[in-house]
Symmetry: C2
Subunit: 337 residues, 2 copies
């Protein structure tokens, strides 16, 4: 990989903790200011949803993308917070859609406060995220952000369309994950650059970094659905498969499996209960056909593309932004949750 | 009332029909342009939700507010469409929250296409509305719009807090309806003015018109919950009361009812089924205490304030915008649905 120096994981951890604290402070002070005359329950549910140990990956990307182009100030933290608002809004609405009882090991908002609170809180965060982005980064940034958020909805629709469709192509899979996950991550990097009045090549480089990072992030997510540990991921293993979501490891397997494996797999796709019961068998067929290795290789390649996109930025003695962005990219590959 | 000339209802009807057609064309062409590469199901559900006989009151207000300040062009129709997008987004999410099977006499989106489609479509419309407003009317307008939409969420929370609370005060009631309904209507008028580069007094006058109109609109809505005809309103009569929403006619009644009526009413507020069974009796007590007349008088006063706010605009021979705004205000009082 074209990494110029070893990734200092300890540095990244310290940076992540510090950034996470700063972004949380920015969120708290934004809520203080915005919720002054509002119902206390709204504040309670927002606090419940926003402060529960999220990794703050998107805010970190906004901050690093701006810093690598030379701008770092207080308002940047509020801009970064806007991306966490939107991310949490989508998680809250996802939990309503999936009827999920838990989120990160705690009751989901829909579980603890009901459907009205969950839908409305998601809507509030959605609106506030856009207001912050428009105010801090301007109209062009908001335009990119809205393209990402409407794209996420489109990605979900595409996913619904292809649920249970074992004829789904790689192209269709990538077009789903680029919209569903890649778009927002790319927009975090691009909007950080715009906030920093980056040059056109800088902005494009960061958008490319973000897009590749987003793809790798989702491919790894899809691998963790098979290979993860529920204690780490906080998600039931095999859940996506049971729901009929056909992801890269299985797509690659379907493309090359022996006829008897293929007909077995096809036979399982008319019934979620069958998929649940035969999960170890399905996993085994994928392993034997190299589906997991092949998907991982794709994620690694995507991370390499992400890191390569950063080569236009010089290493600066006093600024570790590039190393941090590289470190984040490698973290995406090695993460267990 | 300080209406300068009789409201030409026929003119208003023609204007409403024409505006509604123009706004629908603007929505269709926006969807054509925006949905080019997206999943066809997204288009189907957006069409299902947007084109179903809505009254297009908010778009009309945007258009008239801009026109009365002197600006009328094609982009104004797209700005107006953004308000219909947001309005429909809130209706779709409301139907999910209420588990409503119908909307305007047809299956609601959550009923016809499921919860995922309904939540996601609401989110899409929400995002697109903000993108349009930022693009066409700028950052200040978006800021006002977001204050209105986050305020709507806050109004819903306040309403949830006071559900079944027969000690609710008039002040609390008005603070709910100003946020829930008044804010978006006021912002439609104010943003129309901003788009038209209105003077500060013009902008304030239109915001005041909108705010008063919004209050009247919601008070009449609350009256129709008791006095409406299900065939016209498309809503089950007494539904709000059964759900524990205590509105102006009942608040005014509770403030002056005889002790025996009061204890009867209080007794009904621990059980929705009791309220449903005793609806005619409750209605009768409100009538006898003048609760309906008194609420109607408040709506009429609010419409008068709305119309009075328009007096800073001169009547112009070639522009009927002021007459139309006055007409709309009067329509709000006389409407049956």
């Amino acid at each position: 990989m074209s990494v110029n120096k070893p990734v200092v994981t300890e540095d990244l951890k310290i940076f992540a903790k510090q950034t996470s604290d700063e972004v949380e402070n920015a969120m708290r002070s934004d809520l203080d200011q915005t919720l002054q005359a509002t119902d206390p329950l709204l504040r309670e549910v927002l606090t419940h949803s926003l402060f529960n140990g999220g990794k703050r990956v998107r805010p970190m990307l906004v901050i690093l993308a701006s810093r690598i182009c030379g701008k770092n100030d207080q308002a940047l933290l509020r801009l970064a917070a806007a991306f966490e608002y939107l991310h949490v809004a989508t998680l809250i609405h996802d939990d309503v859609i999936d009827g999920a009882a838990e989120r990160r090991g705690r009751p989901s908002l829909v579980q603890s406060h009901g459907i009205a609170a969950a839908i409305l809180t998601g809507d509030w965060l959605h609106a506030r995220s856009m207001q912050l982005i428009s105010e801090i980064a301007g109209e062009h940034a908001l335009n990119i952000f809205c393209r990402a958020t409407t794209g996420m909805v489109d990605g979900e629709y595409l996913q619904i369309r292809h649920t249970g469709n074992i004829a789904i192509t790689e192209e269709q899979y990538f077009s789903i994950i680029e919209r569903k996950t890649g778009g927002l991550i790319a927009s975090a990097c691009e909007i950080g650059a715009i906030y920093s009045s980056a040059s056109e090549p800088q902005r494009r480089a960061l958008a490319s970094y973000g897009n590749n990072l987003g793809i790798a992030f989702q491919v790894i997510d899809d691998l963790l659905d098979y290979l993860g540990d529920q204690k780490s991921t906080g998600k039931k293993i095999g859940q996506d498969l049971v729901e009929g979501k056909i992801t890269l490891p299985l797509i690659r397997t379907l493309a090359k499996a022996a006829p008897e494996d293929l007909s077995l797999l096809q036979n399982l796709f008319d019934d979620p209960a069958k998929r649940e019961a035969h999960f170890p068998e399905i996993k085994n067929i994928i392993t034997q056909n190299g589906g997991f290795d092949s998907a991982l290789a794709t994620a690694v390649k995507s991370v390499r593309n992400a890191v390569d996109a950063l080569t236009i930025f010089d290493e600066k003695p006093m600024d570790s932004s590039r190393a941090m962005l590289e470190g984040l990219a490698h973290y995406v590959i090695s993460r267990k949750k």
